[in-house]
Structure formats: C-alpha cells, structure tokens
Symmetry: C2
Subunit: 410 residues, 2 copies
C-alpha cells in the first residue's frame, strides 16, 4: 500500500529526443511479467552514473563501471533485468554479465563495451543468461521513444507502483526535457544512488559536467532516502544527456544555464526518490526528517539517520502512537558525543514537542496524536549547535514489511 | 515467546552475603504488578557501574552517576522502578529522581547520596514520585537475602520471562558467590551496558579493581547483544562486591584469583545478556554471529553489527528462509572500505555457504533450509584479513515485534 502515490499517467511522461526504450517478458524468474528493459541512446550522447558502495557489489555493477570508464561517451545501450541481482555470484556472475552485454551488442551493432548492464532481484542466485538473451529480440523490436511508462513497469520487483517523472524547462528559448524512471521498495539506504534510477535529458553537456551533476543530484534525491537501512548490492543511478535539444552546449560550472538544468534534474530525481519511499515495503506513512542547527552536515545526517533507522520510532509511526520519547532516545544515540540534550528542540509538523531536555510545557498528547495519525509527517529537530542541516525521507515499519520480507523468495 | 528460555528456579539463585532485596506494587504505571525494587547493600561493600552513552540519558542515570562519583564505597541502597523511564523529563525529572532517593534514604537511615536510582519504562513521561514513595515501606519490609527471583520479576517491563543467574566458585578453599538479575527485551543495543543489570558477589575487591571489572565484564556480555539497534536512555549495569566471603581481599590486577572471579562474573553476566536476547521482543530465533579473521576488533564488530541490525537478514531468520545473499549484502555495507569480497567465507552452523565472492560449490539449498529452521543458529563469517574477531548475540524480526512496539503504551 503506497502512501499518496499513484502510477504516473503515461501521457505526462515526455519523450527525450535521442532515447528509445523497449521491454520484454524474458521469464528471468517468473513467466508472464515484464523483466527485461533496453534503453537505446543515440550516438553523441553523454552518460554518467554513480553506483553502490556495497563491497559485495553485483557483477553488473562491476561491468557497468568498467565499461563506463573505458567507453566514456560511447555508451549506446542500457540492459536491465529484474528477477535476479547477479550479486554474490563470483566469477560466473561476471561472465554472465559480460555474455549478456555481448549478446545485446551483437543485436545493436555496437561494441560490448558500449552496453551497461543492470540487474535487480534475489542475491546469490545465478543469472539465467540464456533466457535473458532469448528475450532480447522482442525488447529490440519494441524500442520506441514513448515507452517510459512501460519501462518503469519493466524494472519493478517488490514495487507496487511504477515510478516515473518528467519535466520540461526552457533554455535559450528552446524546450529542454528531463524524464526518469526508478525502482526500489526494500533494501533501500542508498550510499551513492538508489536501487535503480535512470534519468535522461536532451540537454547538451560535456562529460565531466555530467559526472559532477549526477553526484550532486544523487546527494539531493536518492541519497536522502531510507526504507530499512540496508544498502543494496546493485544500486545505480544513471544520467543520460543526449544533447539533441536545440541549444548551444552547456559549457560547464560557469554556464548560467546549468543551475536551471540542475534544478530540473533534481526535481525529477527527488520525485522518483520520494516515490521509492512512498512505495517502501509495507509503508503506511511518509515521513520527512529535517535536522537543523547542527554543527556540520555529517552530524545532522547522523541524527536524521538514527531517527529514520530506529525500529522503535518506525513502529510508533505505524501505530500512530505519539510515543515521542523514542525520537529523543534516537537523537541521543546518534553518536554526537558532546550533544547537549537541554538545547535540543523537537517539533512534529507545527507541534512543539520537546525543549530544555524534556517535554515542551505547551505539548498536549492530543496534538501529538493528531499529527501522528496523518499519512505524511514532518519531524523537525533543532540541535542548537550551528547552522548546518540535513533532510531525509523515510517510511514506517509495519506488519506488512515483515510479511513481504519473510515471503520474498517464495 | 522467548527462545529456549524459562524462568530460573528460585531455589537455584544463591543468596549473596551482604545483599538483601525487597519489592512492592507501587502502581507506578499500572496497578497490581511488582514495579518497585530495593537492593540493600551491607556497609563495607564496593559498588561500580557502567551506564548508557545515550546523550538523552535518563535523570536517574545522571543522579546515580553523580552519587557513585561522590559516595564511592558508601553506596547502601539501589532503588529501581519500572513503568516510567524518567528520561526526556528535564529539570523536573532530575528533581523527581533526587526526591525518590531522599525518601528512600530517610527510611534506610542513610544519606541520600548513598542511594542509586534506576528507572525503566516509557520515555518523556513524568515519574509519579508520590506513588513511588508510598510504595517504599512495603519494599523495605520485604527486604531479605533470598528474594533474587522476586527481584528479577520486579524489574520486568515487556520481558516475558524473569532473568536471573547464579554461580559459586571456590577461592582459597572458601565459597564465593555471584548472583545477578537483568531486565530488557526491546530498545536493546547496549553501548556500555544493558537496560538494567545488577550482579553481586561477596568477593572482597578494592574499588578500582571493581570498576575495571565491571567494564571488562560488560564488554564480554551485555555489550555483545542487540535486539533492535536502539540504545536505551536508561541502560545501567551494576556490580556489587560485599566482601563478606571468608577470603583475604583480592588485591588487584596482579592477584591470581581475579581471573577465576572474572570468569564467574562474565558467565553470570553473559547468561543474563543472552536471556535478554532470547526474550527479545517478538523473538523466535536466537542467533550467534561470529566474525573471524578481521584486521581488528572494530571492523569485526562493524560486520557483526551490520548483519545483526539488517531488517532483511532478521526477517529472513524469522521466515526460516535461507535467502543468504542478504547476509553478503549486509557484510558488504558494513563500512569496511577495502574489504575484498572474494576472500570472504560464510558458514551457517556447519554448512559452507559462500566463498570466492559467491555461493560455495558444495552449498545446497536444503542444507541452508535445515539450519535456518532451527531455533538457534550460528552465523560464522571469515573475512580473511587478519586475526581479530567479534561475537554478537541477536534475534530475528517478527510480526510480533511490530505488534509489541505498536501497542507498547496502550
């Protein structure tokens, strides 16, 4: 049950000139569901990506990183499968990822190094390369610029709602488009990017500008979410810039148009990232945690993490129970060694909950109850130490989360 | 439903000469349950303690720390209440803790500074001092050396089984006794000690020796457990040495009898710590996580923590589902930056699960299934980096955990 999240209207998803998408039902894990996605990228495009920092990162992550480093601007194809993460699969997994790329490259008429592979699904199970390869011709046949909605469906695993977003801005009097898709619902605590996110624009960007952008956009979107604190082995966030918009190339950090484009990219990425939380496994509440007046960003994030990851806080949200001392306990255990509890203030939406190390004199249980009962809740913590801050989006911990993850493979 | 844990037979709990225990039903939160405990300690005893590092630590923790620092060997009374943590209660909470000590001291005929207060229960609610004080005479009247079993009951909150352990060793041909009690079931991730643990011995020990002992014993017991990763605001582990055993004082680190005593203390403390995990909220499995061949103890502990705290690993244990790639993902996200996944080995009890970065060639799903179905499971991770290690005890994450914590205050 996703929180205030419906499937995007496919008519609202704008095609990005230079990008085509095709899907197939390859039967990777189960028959009869879309589980294979191809993204064909026009020649002359730039592609940049950030990947999981999990040390058990998946074979496709290793191969995609390698191809990206070698091919640079020559990436022509993204190859995505669900149903199997191809992680914890050793040398055989690496061979499977390379074989998949080679098969797709043969059909596309490009070098295997121009293909970036992505996988998501169960860890430590072998990738069924033959079934994947057998599904490729159908996916190629389906390639079209208007398939963003179906592409969003093709990368779902435990997601209950497909995730896609789009926006258009005007630069130099010309339209510039940004459209993206993402998947993810559990094992969400991105360390660099989310489970899988692909965002494309037709803006013309140099490669180093794009690489800097992808990291900054990830930090403002996918890196601000957590469902269960578990960083996936397969996280990847890819930014494609086809350069087919009718504007002069964006030169770099000094170009005044870059800020407007970055806002558009961040808006789409944030919408996708928040969609992942809204569709978090078992989620019934969408919670924004805003930590203010911290000494630096790292301690603000540590406090936000401690709140967002506390099972006791998350179950209280699920129960709509204003057992708000649990939030104080989470703040206190966040590892800020010299935190002065007496200077901390806690707010729930507009309700002042705590100050001077304890309950706010005006706080009334019924006010806390009112906020906790809402499907969207803002937790605001003022540390009273400085001017830095951090924002995190997360969800509650419900019976349904346990059910989903106790049954995931069956 | 506790995992392989039954209430201790009161006849097996050995009295410690110099320690008397008394309880009452003070109606702190709910009527008709034991919620007040007094521990009277004979003159000449030594008391040492370690407390939570949570920055929102409770008022009684602040007062107990202060009294301990000032009174030293003069501690004569422990005063414990359940039903209210007296944490996140600001200056009023501090006054309530001091008033409670003063009332108990007046009845005991000692200085208020000779009383150490301890509280456990809901955070950010005021301590009902009047009801607590009204319960004191009954608790004093009940003081007796044989009350360890009832004392264990008097400190329970969401615990389903009282926790107590006892052992007797012989030093210099004389019996020396160690007996302890503990409580805890949720909000368990001790950073210094557990929710509440009290262990007493009649061994004669100097104060500095005792203080060193309490930290070492905590590191071998309470600091090796986690239920939900939430460090409580009220954790305390207290070690009492009455010195009434008929042996010469144990001189310090050089005394050869110290090692035997430390083993006995660690054995009792470990039994109590493991009882907390066995009675972890909603627990259906007891899991030992042993990380070996780490470069240092800190990284071994980080890997053990990452596994023990992963909701995905914990729900897989609940489901008896050998979805063991989740353990690899947890190892990979533990923050060991230069971990070589290809050198990591994973065992479940006697079953080799992973090596060379992937599934062990001999691993069969039915073997994993067999181990996962047992109520007690050993997860052994060999990192292949050095000679350090860490052991952690934890439990699974079940529907019942969510139910308990969604309903806790109601």
């Amino acid at each position: 049950m996703a929180v205030n999240l419906v499937a995007p209207d496919p008519r609202g998803l704008l095609a990005v000139p230079g990008v085509e998408l095709g899907w197939a039902q390859a039967g990777i894990r189960k028959p009869g569901r879309k589980d294979l996605l191809l993204v064909r990228i026009a020649a002359g495009s730039q592609v940049a990506a950030v990947f999981t920092k999990n040390r058990f990162c998946a074979a496709p992550v290793l191969v995609a990183r390698e191809h990206l480093a070698a091919a640079g601007c020559a990436v022509r194809l993204l190859l995505v499968n669900t149903g199997c993460a191809n992680a914890g699969t050793g040398p055989a997994g690496l061979a499977a990822a390379r074989d998949s790329c080679a098969a797709a490259a043969a059909l596309a008429g490009c070098a295997p190094g121009a293909v970036l592979p992505f996988s998501t699904g169960v860890i430590m199970e072998p990738l069924p390369v033959q079934r994947l390869v057998a599904g490729l011709p159908a996916a190629f046949a389906a390639l079209a610029p208007g398939n963003w909605g179906e592409a969003a469906e093709a990368i779902m695993t435990t997601d209950t709602v497909p995730k896609a977003a789009s926006c258009r801005i005007t630069l130099d009097g010309q339209p510039v488009t940004v459209t993206g898709i993402a998947k993810g619902s559990g094992m969400i605590h991105p360390d660099m990017a989310t489970m899988l996110g692909f965002v494309a624009t037709d803006a013309p960007l140099a490669r180093d500008t794009l690489q800097a952008l992808v990291a900054r956009v990830a930090d403002r979107s996918f890196n601000c979410i957590t469902v269960d604190g578990d960083t996936s082995t397969n996280d990847a966030f890819v930014l494609i810039a086809t350069g087919q918009a009718r504007i002069a190339p964006i030169a770099g950090a000094a170009d005044p148009r870059l800020a407007a484009l970055e806002e558009a990219l961040a808006q789409v990425a944030r919408q996708l990232a928040q969609a992942i939380v809204r569709d978090g496994e078992g989620a019934t509440k969408f919670i924004e945690i805003r930590v203010e007046a911290a000494r630096d960003a790292a301690e603000a994030r540590a406090v936000a993490d401690a709140i967002a990851l506390s099972p006791l806080v998350k179950t209280a949200f699920f129960a709509s129970d204003p057992n708000l001392g649990r939030i104080l306990a989470a703040i206190g255990k966040a590892g800020v060694a010299d935190l002065d509890a007496d200077r901390v203030q806690l707010f729930l939406d507009d309700v002042a909950v705590a100050r001077d190390g304890g309950r706010h004199p005006d706080y009334r249980e019924e006010d806390g109850q009112r906020v906790m009962s809402a499907p969207e809740i803002l937790v605001r913590v003022v540390l009273g130490r400085g001017a830095a801050g951090a924002t995190l989006w997360t969800c509650d911990l419900s019976h349904e989360y346990v059910s989903i993850n106790a049954d995931y493979r069956s």
